[in-house]
Every structure is written in C-alpha cells, then in structure tokens.
C-alpha cells in the first residue's frame, strides 16, 4: 500500500460532506420538531379546582393537560394505613409524607405508569387503585404494589391557593 498524503481534493470532499450533512440535518429537524407539543397545547398549563364539596373518603377526577388528575380526600384510617407501610415493602420506595404534603389530600395523575390507562378507585388488593388494563395494584397513597407498572402514580406540581382551592400545574 502506498502512503497517501491528504491532498486538497480530500479536504474539499470532507468539507462538502460535512456542510451537506449540516444542511440535511437543519432541513429535517423542523419536519421532526413540528410533531412536538405546539404553543396552544403548552398554553393549557394550569387548572384551578374547587374542592370544598369533596367529603372524606371520596375522590374527584379533573382534567389537566388532557390527563385525569385524582384528588382524594382521605379518611384518618386511610392516612394511618398509608403511613404505616414500610419502605422495604415498596417496589418504588416513597414515603406517604413525601407524596401528600397535606395528608388529608392526595393529588396525583390518574394515569397508570404501565401503559397509561386510568386506574379504578377503591379497587385492587391494596385498597387503593386497580388498573383494569394489565392488572397493576396501587395502595391508598397511589404507590405501585403489584403488577407490571414500574413506578408510583405521578404527583403533579400543585398548591393550595386557599383552603378550598387547589391549583394544578
């Protein structure tokens, strides 16, 4: 084999390919990015909910960003049950104290972390939620206890605007 020196032509080829690749990438990117959430979708960022009519032991479901959010007013028994669970028993260890800042109110995305179905209230082996699609069982803190879901149901960003109003998002 002859030892080829890099000449002017090799440089021109490489430079042309590089500029061409950047050009192709810059052309394709808008075609890909147009599929991401648009400005009007992003604008629907927060929702305020009046929870004054929710009695202990009841759950309401509200729509936020096209997804259901469960707001459950838990009974004293349920809070005690959720807080008694040891972290070692959990697939995705999280304390109930971290999930429900105000223990009476559990606010979480009502979306199963397996494949996105809406779990059913007060069903399943752990007295919390049960997903009918592929059989995931959640406890009264919305933590995954049994079934294919990998993580606990997600807690969205929320705050109490006043005692009766929760702002989600």
């Amino acid at each position: 084999m002859t030892d080829k020196k890099t000449n002017r032509r090799d440089f021109l080829f490489t430079a042309t390919y590089a500029v061409g690749a950047v050009g192709v990438g810059a052309t394709i990117w808008p075609m890909i990015d147009q599929m991401n959430p648009d400005a009007s979708v992003k604008a629907l960022a927060s929702t305020e909910v009046d929870v004054s009519a929710v009695n202990p032991g009841k759950t309401i479901t509200v729509l936020w960003r096209g997804k259901p959010v469960f707001i459950r007013r838990r009974t004293q028994d349920e809070i005690a049950e959720a807080r008694a669970v040891k972290l070692e028993e959990l697939k995705h260890p999280e304390t109930d104290e971290d999930r429900a800042k105000n223990p009476e109110w559990l606010v979480m995305l009502g979306v199963c972390t397996h494949l996105g179905c809406v779990p059913l209230d007060q069903k399943g082996d752990y007295n919390g939620w049960f997903c009918p699609c592929h059989g995931s069982h959640y406890d009264i803190s919305g933590r995954i206890r049994k079934g294919p879901a990998p993580t606990n149901m997600e807690i969205p960003k929320y705050e109490f605007v006043n005692t009766n109003t929760i702002k989600i998002g």
Binding site: P37, V41, C117, V118, P148
Partner: protein
C-alpha cells in the same frame, strides 16, 4: 426476467415496446412459469392483493366523508353510517376488510412456515413480507383510532405508551408521538395522515415482494427446485389466474358473510361510545389479529422486558431463514418438524385466546408457558431440528410423485425403495 425474448406482433405495439417495455412485462406476467403442483394454500397471495386494493379503494371513499378532528371524528363516522349513500356498506367493508386482510396474511405466513418458502433462495421475499406485515399492523392500529371511540382512544394510549418503556428518551418520544401530554387532536390528525400513507408504502413493497418472487419462481408443496420452463411448470395465465380467481370467490363469500350478517362481531361495542379521556373501559383488548402479541406483552411482569418480548416475537420471524437449519424445505418430508409446526400453530392460537382474557390466575400461567414455548420453537427447536431430524427422501422432480399415482408420502417412499 423472462426466459425468452418477446416481440409484440403489431407494429404499434413494437414501436411502443421499444420505448417502454410494458408489453414485455405483461408477457412475463402471463407466461410466468408456475409449478403445476401448487395447492390452494398458494392462492392467498392473490387474495391479499385483492384485500389491499379493497382497503385502498374503500378508504379513499371514506376519506371523502370523514373529518379528522377530535370533536368531529366520532360524529362524522356516524354520519357515514347513517347519511352517506351506501356509507354503511363502504365502512363495513373497510372495517371487516382489515380483519379479512389479516386472516389471509396469517394463512399466507403459516403456508410459508409449513412448506419452508422462506428458505434460500427466497429470504428477501420473506423479509419484505415481514416488513409488509409490520406496516399492516401499524396501518390497522392507526385506522382503529380514527373513529375516536373509547377503544380507539385507549388503544392509542396503551400502544403509544409502549414507547415510554425505552430508558431515558421514552417519555420524550411519547410526547412527540402525541403532539401533547395525552392522546388528543394532534395525535388524531397525524394518525389519519399516516393511515392514508401506509397502504401506498405497502403497495410499493408488494411490487418488490412479487419482483423478488419472480427471480427464483414459486416454491411448491414438494419444496424442490423446478426446472423452468419444463413439464414441471404451467404458464401463470390461464392456469393460476383461474385457480386464484376461484379461491378469491370462495374468500369473498366469507368476506360478504361478515359484512352483511355480522358486521360488528369482530369489533368492540365500547367503540360506539365516544372517546372519554377520564374513563378507561373495564376490559380493554386489541383487535383479534394482535391478540397473540398482546398476550406475550402481558405475560412478562416487567414493563420494558414485556415490550422487548412482544417486539422480539415479531422480529424473530425476520431471522427465520437462518434459524431453521434444515436444508429440506417442505414439511412433507420432515416428520418431526411437521409435528412441531402444528404445536406452534396451537401455541399461537392459545396465545390469541389468553390475550383476550383477563391477565390473571390460570390465564396468566398459560400465557407464560405459551410465550416461553413460542421463543423455544424459534430459538432452540428449529436450529437443533435441522441437525437431528431424519428427513424422508425427496422426489427427484415434482412430476415424479404425481405420475406415481399419488403425491403423498407413502408413495414417494415406496418408489424410493424399489
């Protein structure tokens, strides 16, 4: 491609053909030498072409009346059913046509598995076929979303969420697929676009599939190479055209039965309820033709591994020409493979059945055993069988067993020992 030179008879024909050899192509297709022992399992290629054209034509018509918008899609489908002239007929043909398409493709695939049609030199035909099958599943899935009923919405949610199993980028991919934070209007409009596009991609691949087929020619029930053109073959027209046509008529009787007598039996009643993002139907199942893969997904108790198992179950088929180590194509001469073949058929049917049942208790156990066996068949049994199996002697030509009075094994064997 043709074995002989073709010259059109008329002067105009010759003038045209010299400039664009379409007549040479037509002549190749009519004269195409076909093994004369093809049985009725070989008629499903033609039937599938019919299914594709039916879906494209009825789909075009439906698209003239359908509105791809989350607020209007459900109503526009009911408008098609109630107001549009013959709209009910066209929609029922299109909806049941998808099921008929899959029925035919499964027979086509299992014919290939029995007679070893995927083996050398037909690997490319097989792989193109698997790509077509994947595109069919994508088209069927997106088409099912368009009526925007409860099953449409939640089917779309579950299937798109499969991508969220991918580590790190999964959530981003799902948001990108949705065009939002849940399945919604942007998802519907893009699914409509892709549902419209995919059939034409399939059409292109069908051309390649047939082109690749016409290079080595058809496999046949005996699975040995034919000399063409010879006494082993007959011209495609009129012999195969008539036979395919007859089989197509029989198939259309079944098709018409579903369209006119039980048009909704293969669907789900829940899909006549408009999509509601707050309520998941109590029992959510995919269409029947996806059930075996759904059962595999659910039989694995881990999200990522479940998705990996389901996709592997499909992609493993593409590797089949190399997983099956036997040099003998047809199962007629493979006594052990023949038994494992029927066990696989039963296994897939069982997977389909448990896929429709709740994923718990005995059903889950059966699904797990059947999933394990599915992979065992392709990854262990087939490679080993090629070395261990004692195959029966194959005839010298496809004419030999026919002239021997009977194409069956016993005769072929007897003649061998004479």
């Amino acid at each position: 491609m043709s074995d002989h030179e073709y010259t059109p008879k008329s002067k105009v024909g010759k003038w045209f053909n010299d400039r664009l050899p379409l007549l040479t192509l037509a002549n190749h297709l009519t004269d195409y030498p076909t093994p004369k022992n093809l049985n009725y399992w070989w008629t499903f290629g033609g039937i599938l072409t019919f299914c594709l054209i039916t879906q494209i034509v009825t789909g075009l018509v439906l698209a003239m009346h359908y509105i791809a918008h989350a607020d209007m899609a459900f109503d526009s489908v009911e408008h098609i059913m109630r107001d549009v002239n013959y709209g009910w007929l066209i929609r029922y043909i299109h909806a049941n046509g998808a099921s008929m398409f899959f029925l035919a493709v499964y027979i086509h695939i299992f014919r290939s598995l029995f007679y070893g049609s995927y083996k050398a030199p037909r690997e490319i035909i097989w792989i193109i076929g698997i790509i077509i099958y994947l595109l069919m599943m994508a088209a069927a899935f997106m088409g099912y979303v368009l009526p925007w009923g409860q099953m449409s919405f939640w089917g779309a949610t579950v299937i798109t969420n499969l991508f969220s199993a991918i580590p790190l980028v999964g959530e981003g991919i799902v948001t990108w697929l949705w065009g939002g934070y849940s399945v919604d209007n942007p998802t519907l409009t893009r699914f409509f676009t892709l549902h419209y596009l995919i059939p034409f991609l399939i059409l292109g691949l069908v051309v390649l599939h047939i082109w690749a087929l016409h290079v080595p020619g058809n496999n046949n029930p005996v699975g040995i190479d034919v000399k063409k053109p010879s006494k082993d073959t007959v011209p495609f027209h009129p012999y195969i055209v008539i036979k395919d046509g007859f089989a197509l008529l029989m198939f259309m009787i079944v098709f018409a039965f579903f369209v006119f007598y039980t048009p909704n039996i293969l669907g789900h009643a829940d899909n006549y309820i408009e999509a509601d993002p707050l309520v998941t139907p109590a029992h959510i199942v995919p269409e029947w033709y996806l059930l075996p893969f759904y059962a595999i997904l659910r039989s694995v108790p881990d999200k990522l591994l479940g998705v990996v198992a389901m996709l592997s179950a499909i992609f493993i088929l593409a590797a089949l020409p190399w997983l099956d180590t036997s040099k003998i194509r047809s199962a007629v001469f493979r006594p052990l493979y023949r038994q494992f073949y029927w066990i696989l058929v039963a296994d897939v049917l069982i997977l389909g059945y448990v896929g429709a049942m709740p994923a718990e208790g005995l059903y889950l156990l059966i699904a797990r055993v059947a999933t394990a066996y599915y992979f065992l068949h392709f990854l262990v049994i087939l490679p080993v069988l090629g070395f261990k199996e004692k195959t029966l002697p194959i005839p010298l030509s496809i004419t030999e067993p026919v002239l021997g009075g009977s194409p069956n094994l016993a005769t072929a064997k007897k003649r061998e020992f004479k």
